[in-house]
Symmetry: C2
Subunit: 256 residues, 2 copies
Amino acid sequence: MGKIVAIANQKGGVGKTTTAINLAACLGKLGRRILLVDVDPQSNASSGVGVDRNENGYGIYECMLGQERVENAIRTLPWENVSLLPAKRNLAGAEIELIGMERREYFLSGCIGTSKDVFDFIFIDCPPSLGLLTVNALTAADSLLMPIQSEYYALEGLGQLLETYNLVRQRLNPLLALEGILLTMADMRTNLSEQVEKEVRTHFGELVFKTVIGRNVRLGEAPGFGKPIIEYDAASAGARAYVRLAREFLERNGIQ
Amino acid sequence: MGKIVAIANQKGGVGKTTTAINLAACLGKLGRRILLVDVDPQSNASSGVGVDRNENGYGIYECMLGQERVENAIRTLPWENVSLLPAKRNLAGAEIELIGMERREYFLSGCIGTSKDVFDFIFIDCPPSLGLLTVNALTAADSLLMPIQSEYYALEGLGQLLETYNLVRQRLNPLLALEGILLTMADMRTNLSEQVEKEVRTHFGELVFKTVIGRNVRLGEAPGFGKPIIEYDAASAGARAYVRLAREFLERNGIQ
Ligand SMILES: Nc1ncnc2c1ncn2[C@@H]1O[C@H](COP(=O)(O)OP(=O)(O)OP(=O)(O)O)[C@@H](O)[C@H]1O
Ligand SMILES: Nc1ncnc2c1ncn2[C@@H]1O[C@H](COP(=O)(O)OP(=O)(O)OP(=O)(O)O)[C@@H](O)[C@H]1O
Ligand SMILES: [Mg+2]
Ligand SMILES: [Mg+2]
């Protein structure tokens, strides 16, 4: 029975998409069957693995509104054990459309629930907001993984994110757990990164992944080629960090 | 008569807030009367200048909904010629509330229009989305300033942003112009930054500011002290870049 993990943080540019793509690809390489679900209207997770948002074909929008079965929208990717449920252009208008509907928070869980029978892990890449698309992801998820950049504003935003997590648990999805907090884009040469790491580990202890993703330009280059880092440059510090993260993720989920 | 400039890009973490705060502070130092308006529920522009989102007092939410006059929410800041209209916690629910209202795109322009008589420039810091708060900012603005990070995803998102700009011009605010595209967080040691810069200048020519803001850790440290870079470390490369930007901004607006 698969597990659904939402990757969310309303702070922009903290490494949500980079973590979704690269954790998925590294777990695929370790033999797990992975589905990557893109619910960000920017469609970065889709383009980051080479699928164009303007191309024909179904996406998450049609699935959420019940117009198409998930199986007909899922794309197999050229990398071992990884598939994608893409976001197309039409997702941009979804939030405004969903707002007026009954059970508007349950549209995503209604359509991807069955995928738990096919995949070991399902990662949902969220937009930088706490709006209806992110709430749909938290309602569908078993756990929340929170990337945070080693910077001041990212630390500030963590409180708001945890408030939303608690609200969703109380009202929409009592089973939602915390997968963990992941420090990203850390530049160990600066005091800023060190200070943020110290503060996060003091406040959140075991919740914080031991693996820290350092800043590495190859991670910024890879999406331009539509490839995960493990395919673009397996020897890079960025690839090695995400492989470490994938192993730690499995350990935290009781899988050796 | 003042000019309203919206600083927007739905891509997260591209330097919208950092540009709003630091361009405002540098122009203030050059003698212009500046108002900084925070319409991002994250309230980063507010906390970045030392104003707490949980503190008592009015914010942009009450002003947009006509519950309070703008003059009673504006805070004077300890830096020359700069004032702030803050975002408080209650802004988080605004988008859902506004969606069902008549003329929902005009709430912001309805309340900050009068500030053009008092300030030379009014900068609006937007959230990382193309939702109703950003559309309100574009409807109230005379021009749009687009920070873009020198990375692949940021380049991809520019098309969507310009589509929204055109829609707002056609339907809501025919006077909206483009202030310019600003390259941020450029790391000139990497090919990635150079390639993105070359591509942006080829496509958009004169629209792109000559000033490029390089990556500089002092810009990331300053918000932790609630200060603009020009106050936190005036000698830093980050401060010098934003002073250059302020001078170029004035030149492009015909002010020597
Ligand atoms: N560890 C890293 N080192 C260097 N660059 C990185 C790293 N992680 C991410 N990046 C780059 O930083 C930018 C922001 O990352 P990303 O887009 O994954 O963040 P996000 O949280 O998904 O953004 P958004 O809030 O817009 O969805 C991207 O251009 C990405 O390629
Ligand atoms: N030139 C720079 N050099 C180094 N760090 C920077 C620079 N510009 C911004 N930063 C840091 O990068 C992070 C992202 O910048 P900022 O928060 O201004 O972006 P934003 O577009 O406003 O993000 P959001 O989409 O969440 O509103 C912040 O932690 C900021 O301090
Ligand atoms: Mg993303
Ligand atoms: Mg911001």
